[in-house]
């Protein structure tokens, strides 16, 4: 007999314990969860937060006055744009570990890669120009002076244009990337901020903070074709991830509106803590995570019920946020 009764009696409990330990280990790994990275503009830090336990597990110092962050197209790095330090900080999007710094990027505020990955664009919000860099090596190709306070940016699908909101000039500007010249400017309203291309590549949505609506711009005909009333301080966009809906944060009203990009109308609104700004949607599209600028918190909203699920205290003036398992950006 290969195993006698006493051997089985000795081994079985051990196997059970090992299995239990392994299972608990797995569960522990799952509980440890992934890292939420929050950019605290007022502190010049990144808060690293365990998404499951909601505990802060680390703090990373950034350059001065960081405002926006974005993942590289290959998701291997998260770029933090520090405007007063004139630098880009690259961190590991999973751990927050610093990978490298690129200096002499003038006053980078909002940043973005063109869809063809050829261009890296940085808006110099305070210094009124837009910089076009080669995405391959971050060499400056062209510095383009624009109107007052170039704020957010978006691209068309063919990477022909980068569209930039000019916050103090009340305009949206289109820069032709092939010629690196300003193709046109269009008045869109009082204090335009976030700008978003609809998935069909047809309209640009512009958050108009001063009038509390979203201007729908047909960028081919260069006209505002509709205004979607959202709330005071319409500011920034994030896709729900279903290819149809997009959130807009209304920073002065402490609300978020969900816009149907086919009907171009608001289908839902949520109350949020003070100063909602950048957003992230969970992969299952059940939770909306957002930074509450004036409350020093990250807030998590149940998308179906619109109820605030919980908040996480972070640093001063939290602006950008990111986690890997987010919903698709369309």
């Amino acid at each position: 007999m290969l195993f006698n009764r006493s051997m089985i009696q000795r081994i079985l409990p051990r196997i059970f314990v090992w299995a239990l330990v392994a299972a608990l280990g797995q569960a522990g790994l799952a509980m440890a969860g992934e890292t939420l990275i929050v950019l605290n503009s007022g502190d010049a830090t990144l808060s690293l937060i365990d998404r499951e336990t909601r505990k802060t597990i680390g703090l990373v110092n950034t350059g001065k006055e960081p405002h926006h962050l974005m993942a590289t197209p290959d998701d291997r790095s998260l770029i933090v744009a520090s405007s007063a330090a004139n630098e880009l900080l690259f961190v590991d999007p999973r751990t927050g570990e610093v990978q490298r710094r690129i200096r002499d990027i003038a006053d980078p505020y909002q940043i973005g890669y063109s869809p063809d990955r050829k261009w890296f664009v940085a808006n110099a919000f305070r210094l009124n120009h837009v910089d076009l860099y080669s995405a391959a090596d971050f060499a400056l190709v062209k510095r383009i002076p624009l109107g007052k306070l170039p704020s957010h940016l978006a691209f068309d699908r063919a990477s022909r244009f980068v569209f930039v909101t000019l916050q103090d000039s009340r305009k949206l500007a289109a820069i032709d990337l092939a010629t690196q010249t300003v193709a046109w400017e269009l008045e869109v309203g009082d204090t335009p901020a976030g700008v978003w291309m609809t998935p069909d590549d047809r309209y640009l949505l512009v958050g108009v903070m001063g009038s509390g609506d979203v201007a729908v711009v047909d960028w081919r005909t260069r006209e505002v074709v509709k205004r979607i009333a959202t709330d005071r301080g319409a500011h920034n966009f994030q896709a729900l991830g279903d290819g149809r809906h997009v959130f807009v944060s209304n920073r002065s009203a402490n609300t978020v509106s969900l816009i149907d990009q086919q009907t171009l109308s608001v289908v839902k609104s949520f109350k949020t803590p003070s100063g909602p700004d950048c957003m992230e949607v969970s992969a299952d599209r059940k939770e909306l995570w957002l930074t509450a600028r004036w409350a020093r918190k990250v807030a998590v909203i149940d998308i179906e019920t619109g109820q605030l699920k919980f908040t996480i205290p972070v640093g001063r003036s939290p602006h950008g946020l990111f986690f890997m398992s987010h919903a698709p950006r369309v």
């Binding site: 010049a44 001065k64 003038a106 210094l127 204090t191 001063g210 005071r232 920073r251 004036w294």
Partner: protein, 318 residues
């Protein structure tokens, strides 16, 4: 930090949402909301600081006065200067005035390829040590203030303005902000130029600015207080700074004064302008004994400052 967020942070959010943000929205200035949110924090910290200074330094002035006064006449106007500065009115006005100019200038320098020499770039890896960069900024800014202070005494035109600060014969913890507005403007321009050269200070500087201003208030206090033989050489004390305001030493001699340091006496020690000995002397400007009038009220003091500047421009000495 949690305590700070739970007190100042909560107050800041409430004040911003209840008062500041609605005003911005109604006046079409909502694009300034981020700046205004930061300014709200400065306002709250300034108010708390003034309250704390009053609670701590006023009893200290009564307990151990450097000078015994029969009344506090002339101190009231210094209170006004303090409130105008520390509650943010004067800094806000200068910010609105100078920021567009400074930003245009900075934008122009960027378009022509110039980047500021950030302190963080002085040594490889320096940026990863926030405390070290913070101390570097503190030392650079304190030295810059020492240099500016020397010029305030050295240049007749600047002294015409700065003399107002020295004209207080009843120097108290309220006196620190008693400055001509043009003198304040020159300081703001000075600091803006420095920022163009070495980059702006880190965000954590808010706390140190509050600390520094508190030390400056203490150094002006009517308190007979020395930090001891070693301490006097590490941090500017009321005894050290009172010598700077004393008639006969504050604006006299080869250096046109002594003890110019704002936070650290090290600069006075290095450049030979430090004085340690001496009894407590009356404060003020020597020509006040010959009838020179610096004004009693805020407006009179501001006007007479301009009159003195005009006199210097006409070639008259003060």
């Amino acid at each position: 930090m949690d305590v700070y967020a739970g007190t100042v942070g909560v107050l800041q959010t409430w004040l911003f949402e209840a008062v500041v943000q609605p005003v911005l929205f109604a006046t079409g200035l909502i694009g300034l909301d981020e700046l205004a949110f930061g300014a709200t924090e400065w306002f709250i910290l300034g108010a708390l600081q003034v309250l704390l200074l009053f609670i701590v330094l006023r009893p200290l002035e009564t307990w151990r006065p450097a000078e015994r006064w029969t009344d506090r006449q002339g101190v009231g106007v210094d209170v006004l200067y303090t409130l105008l500065h520390r509650l943010g009115m004067v800094p806000l006005a200068f910010f609105a005035l100078l920021t567009p100019i400074a930003d245009s200038l900075e934008g122009w320098t960027r378009l022509h390829g110039f980047m500021p020499w950030n302190v963080e770039d002085w040594w490889p890896g320096f940026a990863e040590h926030p405390f070290a960069t913070f101390m570097a900024y503190l030392l650079v800014l304190d030295f810059s203030e020492y240099a500016r202070h020397r010029l305030q005494h050295r240049l007749d035109l600047w002294w015409a303005l700065h003399a107002l600060h020295h004209s207080q014969k009843r120097m108290s913890f309220w006196t620190d902000d008693r400055n001509h507005l043009l003198d304040d403007l020159l300081q703001a321009v000075w600091l803006a130029c420095l920022a163009l050269l070495i980059g702006v200070s880190p965000a954590q500087f808010v706390g140190i600015v509050i600390f520094t201003r508190s030390i400056e208030s203490l150094s002006h206090a009517n308190v007979d207080l020395s930090f001891g033989r070693v301490g006097e050489r590490l941090l500017v004390s009321p005894r050290f700074h009172r010598l700077h305001h004393a008639v006969g030493t504050g604006h006299e001699g080869a250096h046109r004064g002594c003890n110019f340091g704002v936070l650290f006496p090290i600069w006075d020690m290095l450049f030979g302008t430090a004085r340690w000995q001496g009894s407590i002397e009356p404060t003020g400007v020597r020509n006040q004994d010959q009838g020179a009038d610096y004004g009693r009220g805020f407006l009179a003091q501001q006007w007479l400052g301009i009159v003195r500047v005009a006199a210097v421009l006409r070639g008259r000495s003060l």
